[in-house]
């Protein structure tokens, strides 16, 4: 699975963090972007539904009745039909949001935090440290992302927690590259030079100048990974390495539905559409963030 790590780093002005109105400004730009707002709305609804699952889910997602297997969309009592076990698809989508959003968001966030540390250190210190960090990560790049995740889960054992850990590990190299590239380009800008000339130490440079300016590109990049992680985790679950049955998960629902694709296409396509919409929503938000955090766009 190729991930583009060539990301144009658009830097924020140094006063971004200091200016009290910076956040408000960014928020204004973001809210003016209709796509971004739509994305945020979709994420809010999905997450809200997942959180409120016990209250709003019409059925228990695990209980099934064979007699109503593969009921079509619009069946009374089962708006989105039932799956190959006779479970209500709507209920499984609502509950599945919990697992899918979690496996989508947690590994990317965890990888982002680690990447932030590694990338900043590599970019700022340079030299041997940079070489060691980046060459070790190059080793990870040698393997296709999902294959590496499979190998890791294969070693530490199947299960949802281990799966998320594995996905986080494989994402670290990609996110680290983004952070390091951003660090390098910002490091050479005049305001950093002048801060250093004024006697700012390494810690201050990192914390006050580099970190706030490296965050936006990382945030944007991370948001685009969420949808991909939902799909990747579906792949792992398909191999028996991730979410275990009968736990609902959007990716798993697509995987199981493929066996009944001709007879009851909705079993696979409905969760598939949900994944596409969720992934799009995260991408919209990512795009909106990039615009909002880009000082040039603000003008």
């Amino acid at each position: 699975m190729p991930i583009s790590t060539t990301l144009v780093v658009k830097t924020a002005m140094p006063q971004l963090r200091r200016s009290p109105s910076a956040f408000a400004q960014a928020a204004r730009v973001f809210l003016r972007d209709r796509q971004a707002v739509l994305g945020l709305l979709i994420i809010a609804i999905t997450a809200g539904a997942a959180l409120a699952a016990p209250l709003i889910s019409p059925y228990d997602p695990l209980t099934a009745e064979g007699a109503v297997r593969l009921a079509p969309v619009g069946t009374p009592g089962h708006v989105l039909g039932t799956d190959e076990q006779g479970r209500d698809i709507l209920s499984r989508l609502i509950w599945g949001g919990r697992t899918s959003l979690m496996v989508g968001i947690l590994p990317t966030v965890a990888a982002g935090i680690v990447a932030l540390g590694l990338g900043l250190v590599a970019g700022q210190l340079g030299g041997v440290v940079d070489h060691v960090i980046m060459r070790v990560l190059d080793v990870f790049f040698a393997f296709p992302l999902v294959l590496l995740a499979i190998a890791i889960v294969g070693v530490i054992g199947p299960g949802m927690g281990n799966q998320m850990f594995a996905l986080a590990v494989v994402l670290v190299p990609y996110s680290t590259r983004v952070v390091r590239t951003a660090t390098l380009s910002i490091k050479s800008l005049e305001f950093v030079e002048s801060a250093r000339a004024l006697g700012a130490g390494s810690g201050r440079l990192l914390g006050r100048h580099l970190l706030p300016n490296v965050l936006p590109p990382l945030l944007v990049y991370t948001s685009t990974l969420v949808g991909m992680m939902i799909v990747a985790s579906a792949g792992l679950s398909f191999l028996g390495l991730g979410v275990q049955p009968p736990t609902p998960d959007w990716g798993v629902m697509v995987g199981n539905g493929r066996l009944v694709l001709y007879r009851a296409a909705h079993v696979a396509t409905i969760p598939g559409i949900v994944i596409v919409i969720a992934a799009l929503a995260f991408n919209f938000v990512g795009d909106g963030l990039r615009e909002a955090l880009d000082p040039r766009a603000r003008r």
């Binding site: 028996g240 275990q244 049955p245 009944v260």
Partner: protein
């Protein structure tokens, strides 16, 4: 044919086949013997078309193509077309309950009264694909490769795979050019049938080729005596065979066979629909009805296939026989077969495979009874139920649709209070787990197989075959069963032997409830309308010399 046999066959035939249908098929079978082939579409006689290519969309990978050093159904579907043993199962007939054992490279054979030797009269004029003549010396070479430690061409891997065949062999001797004598240390009644199974296939390999390639490389350029010969093997993609023009027997109808690997059931069906492949096995159950309506031919057979769980005898909860009995009554197998599997399998209540002498389709020691199951659990001090973990694979040879099936079972078990956590593994990892055996806390391990020999129960249930020495994954050990297994192995009378195996099954199912059979797969084959002459026998593999492809 005696009435008892006809009756047995009728009971073994797929549901919905009437006595009249059966007799018509039998008549067509007789016509087949007269040189015309019975076809699946109603027994109408047709003249086979010669030539062309038959493509099989295979549901998984074949292992290496050295028949003596490999084992699995998928592999045997390939090697069975290329290699031959002294005996064979007649897979050209679907109208029998059990495939009959026929001579192949032997013309006839005799068993000594004490059961300690077998003498084979070998067929004359047989050639290997490389031109090497097949005779008693060649046969001795093949047998020594499997059994004789210390022989220059002995192959440890072949010895290990064929252990169920060669473990009591003490000698292989060429009495004259066309007479072979095998001697045994113990009488072994199921030996003939065991030479015909897919786990270690004692088929004759060309001595010239083995000497040329060495034991290990033989699999890359395999040479046998069968009606098809090897062309190429692109691992993970396809295997190609072609007609062997100097075959001693009747020539196959098609010129070329292609085994294309298509693991995913949905992809397999798609390839069949687009005409990329001519036939497939194991379609998703939900597709079968639609495929039939689209003019595809759907054939089923009572193959020796049991989908079952090894119950962990070392687990705290399942140690108690009451809990194991409760398990047997907690799953509505009829509904599962009807609703989830859409009639592609039948409920199984016994650990005796269909298509064997000891199989009794009417044997049903338990029935679905959740209330009784709950009462048994209560007796065992588990009135509030308990939690356990079951293992299954996500796919695999003969596994049908393991995850949806396991989820279905999980749901039924929850109703009586057995709360199962499922752990699923990919097929290769799963097999490795088998050799470690079940740990405490893990309730059951699912597998799916069987044999046309009742010796199969010896392989899964004998106490000496616990991991890592065998596949007795649930650590079942009952001295009474072991003794009876010894008796059966030495009993040369077929009827008496079947009775002993039946007795063993009754102990396993009723006294110990140590295995949990779910269903017998009906081994569906789906053929393109242009494929004729295909026979789906009561076996897990098939012969490909009678089918042909209409233009």
């Amino acid at each position: 044919m005696d009435p008892e046999k006809i009756d047995l066959m009728l009971r073994m035939l797929p549901d919905g086949v009437s006595r009249r249908d059966f007799l018509r098929t039998a008549a067509a079978g007789a016509a087949g013997a007269a040189g015309v082939l019975a076809t699946p579409d109603g027994g109408r006689a047709q003249t086979p078309k010669k030539g062309g290519t038959l493509v099989y969309g295979m549901e998984g990978p074949s292992d290496i193509l050295d028949p003596q050093a490999t084992g699995c159904w998928l592999t045997y579907r390939v090697t069975f077309q290329m290699f031959e043993g002294l005996l064979a199962e007649d897979l050209t007939r679907a109208d029998v309950a059990i495939p009959s054992v026929i001579p192949r490279l032997a013309e006839s054979y005799t068993v000594a009264k004490d059961g300690l030797s077998r003498t084979f009269k070998l067929r004359k004029g047989v050639k290997f694909h490389d031109g090497t003549p097949f005779n008693a010396q060649a046969a001795v070479f093949s047998w020594e490769r499997m059994y004789k430690k210390g022989a220059p061409h002995f192959y440890a891997r072949a010895n290990s795979y064929t252990s169920y065949v060669v473990e009591y062999i003490t000698g292989a001797e060429a009495v004259d050019e066309y007479t072979l004598k095998l001697t045994f240390s113990k009488p072994y009644a199921e030996w003939e049938r065991m030479t015909l199974q897919s786990w270690g296939e004692p088929m004759m390999v060309s001595p010239t080729q083995v000497k040329k390639t060495g034991n290990e490389k033989f699999a890359d350029a395999p040479i046998g005596t069968g009606p098809f010969k090897f062309v190429e093997n692109v691992p993970g993609d396809r295997i190609v065979l072609e007609r062997f023009k100097e075959y001693w027997g009747p020539q196959p109808n098609v010129d070329k066979l292609v085994f294309r690997r298509l693991d995913d059931p949905a992809a397999r069906v798609a390839a069949l629909r687009t005409g990329e492949v001519d036939f497939i096995l194991a379609p998703p159950p939900d597709e079968v009805e639609a495929l039939g309506k689209e003019k595809f031919q759907v054939l089923q057979s009572n193959a020796p296939h049991i989908w079952y769980w090894h119950v962990n005898m070392k687990d705290d909860k399942f140690k108690d026989v009451r809990v194991r009995k409760a398990l047997q009554m907690s799953v509505d197998k009829d509904r599962m077969c009807k609703e989830l599997l859409r009639g592609t399998a039948k409920p199984a209540w016994s650990m005796i495979s269909p298509a064997t002498a000891a199989y009794d389709p009417n044997y049903k020691p338990y029935s679905y009874d959740p209330d009784k199951a709950k009462a048994l659990l209560k007796d065992a001090g588990l009135a509030n139920g308990f939690e356990t973990t079951f293992w299954t694979s996500t796919s695999g040879s003969g596994q049908m649709i393991p995850v949806p099936m396991a989820e279905w079972i999980q749901r039924d078990l929850a109703k009586v209070g057995i709360r199962v956590k499922l752990e699923t593994f990919d097929w290769i990892t799963y097999l490795a787990k088998m050799f470690q055996g079940l740990r405490p806390g893990h309730g059951a391990y699912q597998l799916s197989w069987g044999m046309t020999s009742n010796f199969w129960i010896d392989i899964v249930a004998r106490s000496t075959r616990q991991p890592d020495k065998g596949v007795n994954v649930g650590w079942y050990a009952n001295p009474k069963v072991d003794n009876l297994l010894d008796t059966a192995r030495a009993e040369l009378d077929d009827k008496k032997r079947a009775a002993v195996y039946k007795q063993i099954d009754r102990i396993i199912m009723e006294e110990d409830a140590s295995f949990f059979p779910i269903c017998n797969d009906l081994n569906l084959v789906v053929l393109s309308p242009k494929v004729k002459g295909f026979v789906n026998p009561p076996e897990e593999w098939f012969q490909l010399w009678t089918p042909w492809v209409e233009a």
